[in-house]
Amino acid sequence: MDDRDTLIQLKGVGFSYGDGRAVLSSLDFTLLKGQRVGLIGFNGSGKTTLLHILMGLLRPSAGVVRLFGKTVSKEKDFVEARRRIGFVFQNADDQLFSPTVIEDVAFGVLNQGKSPNEARGIAIETLEKLNLKGFEDRLTHRLSGGEKKLVSLATVLACRPELLLLDEPTTGLDLETCGRIIEFLNELSITYLIVSHEYDFLVKTTREIYSIQKGAVVYNGDSSILHSHYHAHPTGDILHHHEQ
């Protein structure tokens, strides 16, 4: 396996909170370039913790984190890795801190050292891709929940990341916005890892699904099987049984 194609590699990662409660223990996980992976788990199973460890917002108590083929352990290593990873937070209000949409979308781009004009251009282009044309001067706090989510996706994509991490992207969204996000993710060509507790959403956006159980990651299967299943039963709430 080429080291360059391994975007994420976790070996024996453990994490406990201050009160001694272990959330993750000897967790192994690998994400290769081009993969679209879903990670499912119950509330409190450590899904978000795992993402925060990947972004360097939390430090593991054990194990090794490798990003883009390099071992990362210090803040400096993570600062560099964060430039290449886009992280969409669960709550859009945490992500969107600027008064206007355009400023928020341009924020990461400006941090990369681009000029204000370039940043504005990239921001507008990104908004257009997400069908958010004309949102530039809207005030972030006056957007609807769905709009906030789409804009926060734009703020991350404007930085042109090589890897996208999404934390519960569907929380509190209506079906239409969910549909837009699904459509958009399927058009994207970058590698991504989505953490969610909604199986249906993961089936429609990812190829492989893992679950997080007792602090470790377990492979569940190819989502294409579940995908055909989804199409076969548009009314999936009717009780039914399948044979493998």
Binding site: F89, F107, Q112, A119, H141
Partner: protein, 253 residues
Amino acid sequence: MIEEVFATGDSLMHRLDPRVRILAALAYSIPVALVSRPIPMILALVLSILITALARLQVKALFKRLIVVNSIILLFWIVVPFTFDGETIFEIGPLAATREGIIYAASVTIKSNAIFLAFLALVATMPVAAAGHAMQGLGFPVKVVTLLLLTYRYVFVIEEEYNRLLRAIRIRGFKARTSLHTYRTYAYLIGMLFVRSWDRAERVHQAMKCRGFEGKFYCLTQYRVSLEDIFFSVAMSVGVCAIGMTEWMIAIH
């Protein structure tokens, strides 16, 4: 929570560069606050009314705000005329209103209204966000500007959180009374807001770090000074000078 009713419009005031307007408001209000003679005060009030007219603010909203300001000034009128030393003009029971007291209260009224109108016309006519950027453009400390912009952004979120908590309390039959239970509930409510705001601040900072924030803000807005800005700046300078000159002329006579 913050309505910004005057922030949008297409008057001359709305078109002016926010930096010019903030500077003008500061350069105008300080001398106006300092003048002590009636003529320059009235001159200032006339000038303020003139720029307010130029801003074409919604009349109803404007008067609503003027009433708020002047009801505070009314408190001055109840106290100041009767507590100032000087020549007695009339008496109400044991209280004596002095000429000096009345003049003082009147000057406070005129000056406050003049400065208030100028700020409405010049500063309230821009969104808070634009004010922040203009301040950054004028070289205000980054921390002050950041504080202003983040407060503006999150005051709505905190308000929403407050309303959610209040609903949760009310749903369970809470009614505000003069009791320890009421005080304790309100204390919990406020405490909870602080805790949540703290957590929120931490998450926002994390999200900013994830997008490459390293403590320095880069401004997206680029300003250009137009001909209108120059004309306005000259006119305001003339106005401020005229107020200062009349004050000075009367003082030496």
